[in-house]
């Protein structure tokens, strides 16, 4: 009896389940049926598909803040760059200065900047964008603290009342003019203004929401915030009252966090996402070999180099440093470890930065010449040295120790015996900073795309003991770099940086190795996607074929 009971219960359950499932399926067909005729009737009137254009952008991690002023991480700026706009914009794929929320800007003396604002712009909450809104944003930032607005502090030298604070005052003149008065000239000022952290937010919203503004960000950008599912997706949709009625082309963008690089590429292959950030260099062939996909290269904003501690013999001799430059086969390193996803570096800064001196020839791979130079320096029998390799992969150097082995072999060819040395990362930085290494591998990623952020920070004598790990000191270079810091004429300033790069090239304080170009992949029908060197991509123009 018992058996029978059990069986009948099981049967009954199955019956219930199947009716339930049947109900579901008929439900879905029911809804599609009811929508189909509507679509047809619309098609009759307008010859255009009514499907919303949705871009799913797969990336490695979630954002931390959607309030750009508070954020410091690239994943936050990737989203805020499309919700907010800055007074000035960077070029589509470089860091030149273009109009943004301001249409005109000028300065006489580098102390007073006048910005003319775009008219007819509204925030996504319906309030007006005007000069007063800009002033309120700067008031908010300059009255903050370093843990609140870290980028404001580092780009403008602190906050109100701090001695280093560059901005004297920000005032509105009428509705459409904003005047900045600086305490002293700051040449990268316009570049700083164009950085993602300084996107203009709706004062009504941030005054109301305070710290919670990050959960409901409101700017003037082409997309407005919809939803944030933590560690999963962030959705933004077309802002219909955007000042440029042509833009954005897409109806919706969904940023999806998929931490594993291979899994992200798989999701692109299956069509779950449309665009994948962070493609492994080793996977680039899978993308180029797939007719449904296209590969994008993000222009480089970094440099990976072999630093030579200029105060330690024999590297105090310029000929030895030049010999090192001729001895290393950069092309093989790039082919083997960057899968071609990098440019050979000849200068301490990447070509996407204005002021880059492309006239410099660079040191070619020439072991014979290197031997000659060593001979001139009285080291024809070679010498023994320590070669420091970083223990962790960095964006500018995927595998430090492996690259060091290639360098070791290159150096052996010209009679130099290099012993590879490595430490835990924090210790490594500390020891190189103290000048304890003969030669060390290191690199740098730019902040605001300004030449000063590379040349002055990495190679000026002021920064010995800080980021000038090579202990390179040259008074002429120092004078040029200091002059460039206050030179507000872009052309003159670039001329100064070109000069500085020439001297640095001749003196060879480092062996610049590579500017890595991070890879992305997208569906083949994706249009107008231009990856930006800063890592924050504007998606307003992006469209599907």
């Amino acid at each position: 009896m018992n058996k029978k009971k059990l069986w009948s219960i099981a049967l009954l359950l199955m019956l219930v389940l199947s009716t339930f499932l049947a109900a579901c399926s008929s439900d879905t067909t029911g809804t599609t049926d009811s929508t189909d005729p509507k679509d047809d009737s619309k098609d009759g009137e307008v010859e255009e598909s009514t499907d919303p254009k949705i871009l799913v952008f797969g990336r490695g991690g979630d954002s931390v803040y959607l309030d750009p002023a508070r954020a410091t991480d690239g994943e936050s700026f990737k989203v805020t760059q499309n919700i907010f706009e800055t007074l000035l914009n960077f070029g589509p794929q470089d860091t030149t200065i273009n109009e943004g929320l301001a249409t005109e800007w000028n300065t006489e003396d580098g102390l007073t900047y006048t910005f003319t604002l775009r008219e007819g712009v509204k925030f996504q909450d319906g309030t007006d964008f005007n000069a007063e809104a800009v002033v309120k944003n700067f008031e908010r930032w300059s009255n903050g603290t370093e843990d609140q607005f870290p980028y404001y502090a580092s780009m403008f030298g602190g906050f109100k009342g701090d001695e280093g604070h560059v901005i004297e005052s920000v005032t509105a003149e009428g509705d459409n003019t904003v005047i900045f008065k600086l305490k002293r000239p700051q040449a990268p000022f316009l570049k700083n203004i164009a950085m993602s952290p300084f996107g203009i937010a709706s004062p009504t919203a941030f005054e109301k929401d305070g710290d919670k503004f990050t959960d409901n960000p409101i700017g003037t950008g082409p997309f407005k915030f919809v939803e944030w599912k933590k560690n999963e997706t962030i959705t933004i949709e077309k802002y219909t009252d955007y000042w440029n009625p042509e833009l954005p082309k897409l109806d919706k963008v969904i940023f999806q966090a998929i931490p594993d690089n291979s899994a992200r590429l798989t999701a692109l292959t299956t069509g779950e996402i449309d665009l994948a950030d962070g493609v492994n260099p080793a996977d680039s062939n899978n993308v180029t070999g797939n007719a449904d996909l296209q590969l994008y290269e993000r222009p480089s904003m970094n440099v990976g180099y072999l630093g030579l501690t200029n105060t330690r013999p024999p590297f105090d001799d310029v000929r030895v440093r030049q010999a090192m430059n001729h001895a290393i086969d950069k092309q093989s390193i790039i082919d083997a470890f960057f899968n071609g996803g990098a440019l050979i570096a000849k200068n301490p800064m990447p070509p996407s930065i204005s002021g880059y001196n492309d006239d410099i020839a660079g040191y070619d791979y020439d072991p014979e010449k290197a031997k000659e130079l060593l001979k001139e320096a009285g080291l024809e029998d070679g010498f023994e040295m320590d070669l420091w390799a970083m223990p962790v992969p960095r964006p500018y150097m995927p595998d430090g120790t492996k690259v060091a082995e290639v360098i070791q072999k290159n150096l052996a060819d010209i009679g130099i015996k290099a012993n590879i040395v490595t430490y835990e990362w924090a210790t490594y930085l500390e020891k190189t900073k103290n000048g304890e290494a003969d030669a060390f591998m290191l690199g740098w990623t730019g902040d605001n795309g300004d030449a000063d952020n590379f040349l002055y920070v990495l190679l000026d004598k002021d920064n010995i003991g800080s980021n000038n790990y090579a202990y390179y000191s040259n008074d002429e270079v120092h004078d040029i770099l200091i002059a460039a810091q206050t030179e507000v004429d872009e052309a003159k300033r670039n001329e100064l940086y070109a000069q500085a790069q020439e001297i640095i090239f001749a003196e060879a304080p480092w062996v610049p190795l590579a500017h890595s170009t991070p890879l992305l992949a997208g569906k083949v029908n994706l249009l107008n996607f231009l990856p930006h060197p800063t890592g924050s991509d504007k998606l307003a123009e992006v469209d599907f074929k």
């Binding site: 058996k3 109900a23 579901c24 439900d27 879905t28 809804t31 949705i54 799913v56 797969g58 991690g61 931390v64 803040y65 410091t72 991480d73 603290t145 370093e146 843990d147 870290p150 502090a153 580092s154 710290d211 939803e227 599912k229 933590k230 560690n231 999963e232 997706t233 959705t235 969904i254 999806q256 966090a257 998929i258 931490p259 594993d260 291979s262 899994a263 992200r264 798989t266 999701a267 292959t269 299956t270 779950e272 996402i273 835990e424 924090a426 902040d447």
Partner: protein, 372 residues
């Protein structure tokens, strides 16, 4: 601040006394009688024993994460941050205090029901962790269901037809399953079922172009509540690949355990008697034998379930699943101390609670098991 430390100390002394004198306290009221009383008594005792376990754990985790090099303030602000900014943040986060003061402040927070604030996002951990726990819970439940259904049946049939081809195949597969690197398995599953056959989605919890409106953050439940059965289908589809990847190891362990446990029971006298009575083999196996063989399997299931709920970092990473394992893992990368501490505490708490539930279940299945 000082009074907090004083109270914390008093509270700890109080706890230790209660734990030591527990039997005396509870023998006072012997009003309840019989089974229920012993059961409640047992549960109460186990809950009290939890206090020193969790307390010890907070201490160990607290010390370990401070032993790894790396300064949270520096990591949060990035390499380019100025020294003054790092210093200001350290002070604000209380990282300049001696470790024991930090520890007591943390404990005081726990006693007052405060799990702390994430150093990175500045949100309360108790708010943040809920969504991740729900995602992990949904996936673990699905995985453990697969593991139980497939594992127990495979184990039973293997024992029933011992030394048959099914037995050999199942046990070889179980051996492979136990030793399978999840990372590799996950990528293979994605490749085969996602790319090659295009049958199943490979990443995330939902079809992102048609998102689920989250209420409980248990998407299966949410879609049912809202009557969105079209979405229920896609949500279930998204569960399959990560669920199978996650289920593999528990499934193999359960299958092996069930088999060995069943083999033992099948040799016992009452099984022989049942068979000689002429009862059908199916009922002998599934009804009489299984009831006695299931107890050790239940222990294993409890342990595995507890482990799954701790969040499976690898599975969650490969399948882009926003679970608690990834939450804690990312917190470690950012040296987000409060999230690591409280996250592990919550996970450990769940682990212990599940095992308690399993222990209580024993007596429901086998009334011969008594608690003292």
């Amino acid at each position: 601040m000082d009074y907090k430390r004083g109270y914390t100390f008093l509270f700890l002394t109080f706890c230790s006394r209660i734990i030591l004198e527990y039997p005396a306290t509870f023998s006072l009221h012997n009003a309840l009688d019989g089974e229920v009383k012993t059961m409640l008594h047992y549960i109460g005792k186990r809950l009290w024993q939890l206090v020193p376990v969790l307390l010890g754990m907070t201490f160990v985790v607290f010390m370990i994460i401070r032993a790894i090099p790396g300064d949270p303030a520096q990591v949060i602000l990035g390499q380019q941050a100025s020294e003054s900014a790092v210093k200001a943040l350290r002070t604000k986060l209380g990282l300049d205090d001696p470790w024991y003061i930090q520890y007591f402040d943390y404990l005081w927070g726990l006693i007052t029901g405060d799990l702390g604030e994430s150093m990175r996002t500045m949100n309360p951990v108790s708010d943040e962790i809920w969504g991740y726990l729900a995602a992990t819970f949904e996936l673990s439940l699905f995985a453990i269901l697969i593991a139980i259904i497939v594992g127990i049946n495979a184990g039973i049939i293997s024992a029933w037809f011992q030394n048959s081809w099914f037995d050999y195949t199942a046990m070889i597969l179980a051996l492979v399953g136990v030793s399978m690197p999840i990372f590799w398995l996950g990528l293979m599953l994605q490749y085969i079922f996602g790319v090659e056959f295009g049958l199943l989605p490979t990443t995330g919890r939902e079809e992102v172009r048609n998102p689920v409106e989250s209420i409980t953050n248990l998407y299966v439940l949410d879609t049912i509540i809202q009557g969105r059965y079209d979405q229920l289908g896609t949500v279930l589809k998204h569960l399959i690949l990560p669920g199978v990847a996650l289920a593999t190891i528990p499934m193999a362990i359960i299958a092996r355990m069930t088999r060995s446990s069943m083999l033992e029971v099948m040799r016992s006298d009452y099984v022989r008697t049942a068979r000689s009575k002429g009862q059908r083999m199916f009922w002998v196996v599934y009804k009489h034998a299984l009831k006695n063989a299931i107890i050790p399997v239940l222990t294993i299931i409890g342990l595995q379930m507890g482990m799954l709920l701790g969040g499976a970092i690898l599975t969650e990473t490969i399948f882009g699943w926003p679970g608690v394992g990834r939450y804690i893992y990312e917190a470690i990368n950012f040296r987000d101390y409060p999230v690591i501490q409280s996250g592990i505490l919550v996970v450990a708490f769940i682990f212990v609670m599940i095992n308690l539930v399993i222990d209580v279940l024993y007596s429901l299945i086998d009334p011969r098991i008594k608690y003292d």
